[in-house]
């Protein structure tokens, strides 16, 4: 890990985002504490991934600000300083590069260390994710789950101070999902990495989160610890956290009736 590591705080103030007439985020404000694992949950289309892309500096807000220790994440200097890593939902691996080349790209491009050391870093990351045998494969030869693991390994090689995960356990079997949860927790314990995790996975969220934010239709409904959230009486939050499969009165029938 980098020598100049300092605790990283993420501050989101009054963040709004619209695509044309469609408002995706509405004045979202939150603060992720240094070294914290902060999970963002919410139904599909609630704006979780868009919020994460703002934190990663990939989007220009319509209103409000995002800051990493007071610096704009869209600036290359900020990314360089805090080694901000984003694990994309799709993996976003470079298809023209092998798994090894994907992992070695960041340290090579930034000339972080000599090649033997880069090799060591890559091998270590592959070993953590149990994907050493994929080192010479290309992304097109990997399953969805393998791609996700390679994407996480690529982020680990960056030795980041901020890790952003977009649905890190989707497409993974329960054992691998648990492994990913352990990796996220270990990064916090060992390296004080500040982590923001967007997920639908309740088990993951309650197992690893220091705090959980719930988004609904672009608005922040709650930011609470897992224990507090379990006791939350808000009907939308309860419905999201404890959906019961009701075969007698299916939800889609209600939706159809409302539509008619």
């Amino acid at each position: 890990m980098r020598d100049d590591r300092s605790p990283v705080r993420i501050t989101v103030s009054g963040l709004s985002k619209s695509y044309g007439p469609q408002s995706v985020l509405r004045e979202v404000s939150l603060e992720v504490q240094p070294g914290e694992i902060f999970v963002i949950m919410g139904p599909s289309g609630s704006g979780k991934s868009v919020l994460l892309r703002h934190v990663a500096g990939l989007e220009v807000p319509t209103g409000g600000t995002v800051a990493i220790n007071g610096h704009d994440p869209r600036l290359p200097e900020t990314r360089d300083r805090f080694a901000l890593a984003l694990v994309f939902q799709s993996g976003a691996l470079f298809n023209s590069l092998s798994v090894y080349e994907n992992l070695a790209l960041y340290p090579l491009e930034h000339r972080l260390c000599p090649k033997p050391e880069i090799r060591e870093r890559v091998v270590r990351a592959l070993r953590i994710l149990s994907i050493e045998n994929a080192v010479h494969k290309f992304p097109s030869e990997l399953s969805g789950g393998m791609k996700k693991r390679v994407a996480i390994a690529r982020a680990l090689v960056m030795e980041p101070q901020v890790m952003l995960y977009d649905e890190p356990t989707s497409e993974l079997d329960p054992v691998m999902a648990a492994t990913i949860a352990e990796i996220i927790a270990t990064l916090k314990e060992q390296f004080s990495v500040t982590s923001v995790v967007v997920s639908h996975d309740r088990d993951l969220a309650f197992a690893i989160a220091d705090r959980i934010a719930v988004l609904h239709q672009g608005r922040l409904l709650a930011v609470q610890t897992p224990a507090e959230l379990r006791e939350n009486r808000d009907p939308i939050i309860r419905e999201f956290l404890r959906p019961v499969i009701n075969l007698q009165e299916p939800r889609f029938k209600k939706l159809e009736a409302n539509h008619d």
Partner: protein, 250 residues
């Protein structure tokens, strides 16, 4: 009005992209491998098509002009006509059109696909400028290979004309006479003018291809649209620039 805005936006984006790419020029030694890969893809694989196309363009030009010039008793000038036409106009334009159709379309599809699948965003979060990794190697490669393709295309085109002149009995101009006429009137300036055109066309084609690809949003359908847009814009740019460069070099 939206269309006009779109055109200005595309033009502005392409200029900014070129500026950002060339700002990374000091890192060129680090991207030599990518430049050579792109040079191979753009140059070596395009060469056979350039050769076939220019051979037949030279041949058709000699055939069309040969019979007319013969009627005017000037068939000894066929070499001059074919040589000048190919060196100054048809060589660079045809190479650029082939680059737009073959290389530009592939580059747009590749970059658009990278944009749609999040690979470009991944580069941004890794603080690796896409302009340095994806655009600069392609621009440098096309600047290197376009003059080479054009010179080879020119020579093959002239040779195509010579074959027709010698082989078609109604024209009946010997290769010696053909090449003598070609050498007599064709100047280094003519060839250089053609190479300047080719260089500008190649650069513009690649810039349009990269810019269109990187500006793509959406899914597979938009990738298809982007490829079409890239080729159409490139063809319009080639023919428009051709007029202005010809005028400027006159």
């Amino acid at each position: 009005m939206n269309r006009i805005n779109e055109v200005f936006e595309a033009f502005g984006s392409a200029l900014i992209l070129a500026w950002r790419a060339f700002r990374s020029l000091p890192s060129a030694p680090r991207i030599l491998r990518r430049v050579s890969e792109q040079g191979y893809l753009a140059g070596y694989t395009t060469l056979p098509i350039v050769a076939i196309l220019l051979f037949f363009i030279g041949a058709v030009l000699a055939l069309q002009a040969g019979n007319t010039l013969r009627d005017f008793g000037a068939k000894q000038l066929i070499g001059t006509l074919v040589g000048e036409s190919i060196a100054r106009e048809l060589g660079p334009v045809m190479v650029a059109i082939l680059l737009a159709g073959r290389v530009g379309s592939a580059v747009t599809a590749e970059l658009a696909s990278m944009r749609v699948s999040g690979e470009v965003d991944a580069l941004v979060t890794m603080n690796i400028p896409p302009e340095r990794m994806l655009v600069l190697p392609r621009l440098l490669a096309v600047l290197l290979i376009t003059p080479v393709l054009t010179i080879i295309g020119n020579i093959i085109g002239w040779f195509g004309g010579a074959v027709v002149c010698a082989g078609v009995s109604t024209i009946g101009v010997e290769p010696e006479m053909y090449f003598q006429a070609l050498k007599q009137y064709l100047t280094v300036r003519d060839i250089m003018d053609g190479l300047i055109k080719a260089e500008v066309f190649g650069f513009v084609v690649m810039l349009i291809a990269c810019s269109t690809g990187l500006r793509t949003r959406g899914g597979p359908r938009e990738i298809g649209f982007a490829v079409t847009k890239s080729v159409v814009f490139s063809l319009i740019a080639i023919l428009t620039l051709d007029y202005f460069i010809t005028k400027a070099l006159d």
